[in-house]
């Protein structure tokens, strides 16, 4: 339905690797935040990064987005070393949503979403600005916030404005760091449904999540991190087993089978 509306300009053919990390090591303050991590993100899939606090999820996202240069290993984006891309070229091909959506001056909701179009300034696609902005505002369900100033919004509303800004960029690769953390149940679902639509249209979505069941429901693949290493990587059914989850999160869980679904529901075993 809404899928084909999201036209990304330079999109990789479905199934090809758009972003990859090979043998990434990152040391900060004498601690290995990432230890020999390898991961591939494909066009047309939603890849969820899971793991306990401090496992290195956000750090890995920072490396893949080109923010952080690793101490060892290679990062590629669309087949080229990430360092070879100019910032504007990269900005037109991937957008990133961080956890922190603070803004330093009281811009309005509309102005902030419009900032997501900045990479397309002085390109022919600038003509799509209004359409892309309207679409992103509808997708993030923030139309009713209209002219409000972003600093006056609640955390969840601000997160949705940030998401709308990222969606408005219409890039072929989305990297989202805990986009659902501050959202209520309904908005969590619509946001992740949207990532599915984008993936169906051929985009690549890399998303850091905490809720295992959300990941099971919406991700094509899950990479489970522990202490800076990829502990398991595969489909939700392969990764989210009672044994693996109990081990990684150091909490006993059971996985309840659900009819008509490959992955079950992860429940902590409570005494």
């Amino acid at each position: 339905m809404a899928a084909q509306k999201f036209v990304a300009v330079d999109r990789a053919p479905a199934g090809t690797v758009v972003a990859s990390a090979r043998g990434i090591t990152l040391v900060r303050g004498g601690r290995k935040l990432l230890d020999d991590v390898s991961i591939e993100v494909h066009a047309g899939e939603v890849l969820a990064l899971l793991g306990p606090n401090g496992a290195g999820k956000s750090t890995l996202l920072g490396v893949l987005s080109g923010d952080t240069a690793p101490d060892g290993g290679d990062v590629e984006f669309r087949g080229r070393s990430i360092g070879d891309w100019s910032l504007p070229e990269l900005a037109r091909r991937r957008s990133v949503l961080l956890q922190d959506n603070q803004i330093m001056f009281p811009f309005t909701v509309h102005q902030v979403v419009e900032m997501g179009r900045a990479p397309w300034r002085r390109t022919p696609l600038e003509d799509d600005d209004n359409e892309a902005i309207a679409e992103a505002i509808a997708a993030a369900d923030i139309a009713h916030l209209g002219n409000r100033r972003v600093p006056s919004l609640s955390g969840g509303e601000r997160a949705r404005v940030g998401f709308a800004r990222v969606v408005a960029g219409r890039t072929g690769v989305l990297m989202l760091d805990e986009p659902t953390a501050a959202l209520d149940l309904g908005h969590q679902e619509t946001l992740l449904q949207l990532t599915r639509e984008r993936a169906a249209a051929g985009d690549a979505v890399l998303v850091v999540l905490h809720d295992l069941n959300l990941a099971a429901a919406y991700a094509d693949r899950i990479a489970l991190l522990r202490e800076g290493r990829v502990f398991a990587c595969g489909t939700p059914a392969e990764v989210l087993t009672a044994e693996t989850v109990s081990d990684v999160y150091r909490t006993p869980v059971e996985v309840i089978e659900r009819p008509g679904s490959a992955a079950g529901i992860v429940m902590p075993l409570r005494g």
Binding site: L90, A91, Q102, M104, F107, Q111, A118, R121, G146
Partner: protein, 354 residues
């Protein structure tokens, strides 16, 4: 991209009204200021003198014999300098606030003006002439740049500038610069001492066309550059990483803007001395009217700064009969209380700056 904001059409109206109101007010203030002094010249004669100069034979020339001479030799350069310096300081304030992501950054508050004053003081006391008539300006620029870089690197940690650190760094820079100026005052002869004191108070007396010829092009460069980076400064409000993701080379932008601010502040300090608070008050007022988007703020701040300093200069010459008050004192008299108000207002709204 079209002009955004809440209701784009209402913002466009506000913007239009504000620009026209500021331009008209500035034009009137300039005419009134040029006509005011020991020799009073009515506004139509001031305008007449200007028009005759560019070959339009309309409106009367000054009726007093020395009128035309007074206008062109003394009043016009002074009035022009007031407007240029005001515009330059307001734009540097706007730029500083954008790159520090913080409405308190102002060339005077964080010590850049006093840094530039040390450079200018050096050239006065030691009679330096390395760069000919540009020496004072060049040294003021260089010292202002050093002060700006010091503030920038010392107040940033992990990509953020904390307000408290920023203000404390400013206090430290102001203290060091104050000591250097005191030393220069001590070392200098009577004449250079007088010049330095004059300077610290800020004054537009004795502005010359040759100085305008230096300040005007610098302001022009500063304004053009400010327009070019305005949209990037908007993105910077999202934070460093987000701005990078949207294609902004944040480090290059920051360094470029710092050099620009040092250039603008250096030029104004070199010829007008330390004039504080223009860069704080004007961008803040304009932001309250127009919102935080930087593109219209560049124009509004330039006009507002020019207007404020033209009025301040008029006040400096007329508030006390037969006296030329230091203009820096006047702007601080207005800006100081404004600063208090700004602090209290922010405390109430957001619980202050941690």
């Amino acid at each position: 991209m079209k002009n955004s904001a809440s209701t784009p059409s209402s913002l466009r109206t506000t913007k239009g009204v504000l620009f026209i109101a500021l331009s008209l007010a500035l034009a009137f203030a300039l005419l009134a200021s040029a006509g005011t002094g020991q020799l009073a010249i009515p506004p139509q004669e001031v305008l007449g003198s200007l028009l005759h100069k560019i070959g339009i034979e309309w409106l009367p020339l000054p009726s007093h014999a020395a009128g035309d001479q007074t206008l062109w030799a003394i009043r016009f350069p002074r009035v022009a300098m007031a407007a240029l310096v005001g515009a330059g300081l307001a734009i540097s304030g706007l730029l500083m606030q954008a790159i520090f992501g913080n409405p308190l950054a102002e060339p005077g508050v964080i010590g850049i003006s006093s840094g530039a004053a040390v450079g200018a003081g050096l050239s006065i006391v030691f009679g330096l002439t390395l760069f000919g008539q540009w020496t004072t300006a060049v040294l003021a620029f260089a010292a202002g740049l050093v002060a700006t870089l010091l503030v920038y690197f010392m107040s940033r940690a992990e990509g953020r500038t904390e307000v408290v650190t920023l203000v404390l760094t400013g206090i430290a820079i102001n203290a060091i610069a104050g000591a250097a100026i005191a030393l220069l005052t001590f070392l200098g002869d009577t004449q250079s001492r007088e010049q330095i004191v004059f300077w610290q108070l800020g004054s537009l007396a004795g502005s010359r066309w040759s100085q305008i010829a230096i300040v005007a092009p610098i302001l022009a460069i500063g304004m053009i550059a400010a327009y070019l980076v305005a949209r990037k400064l908007d993105l910077l409000a999202l934070g460093e990483r987000n701005a990078r993701h949207l294609g902004v080379n944040v480090e290059a932008l920051r360094i470029g803007v710092i050099v620009l601010v040092a250039l603008l502040v250096g030029a104004s300090v070199a010829f007008a001395g330390i004039i504080a608070f223009v860069g704080l008050v004007i961008p803040h007022l304009m932001r309250m009217i127009l919102g935080p988007a930087h593109l219209p703020l560049v124009t509004a701040s330039a006009l507002g700064g020019a207007l404020l300093l033209t009025l301040a200069d008029l006040g400096a010459r007329t508030l006390v009969p037969m006296a030329d008050l230091p203009i820096g004192m006047l702007t601080s008299l207005v800006g100081g209380p404004f600063f208090f108000w700004l602090l209290r207002r922010t405390r109430k709204r957001a619980g202050g700056w941690g």
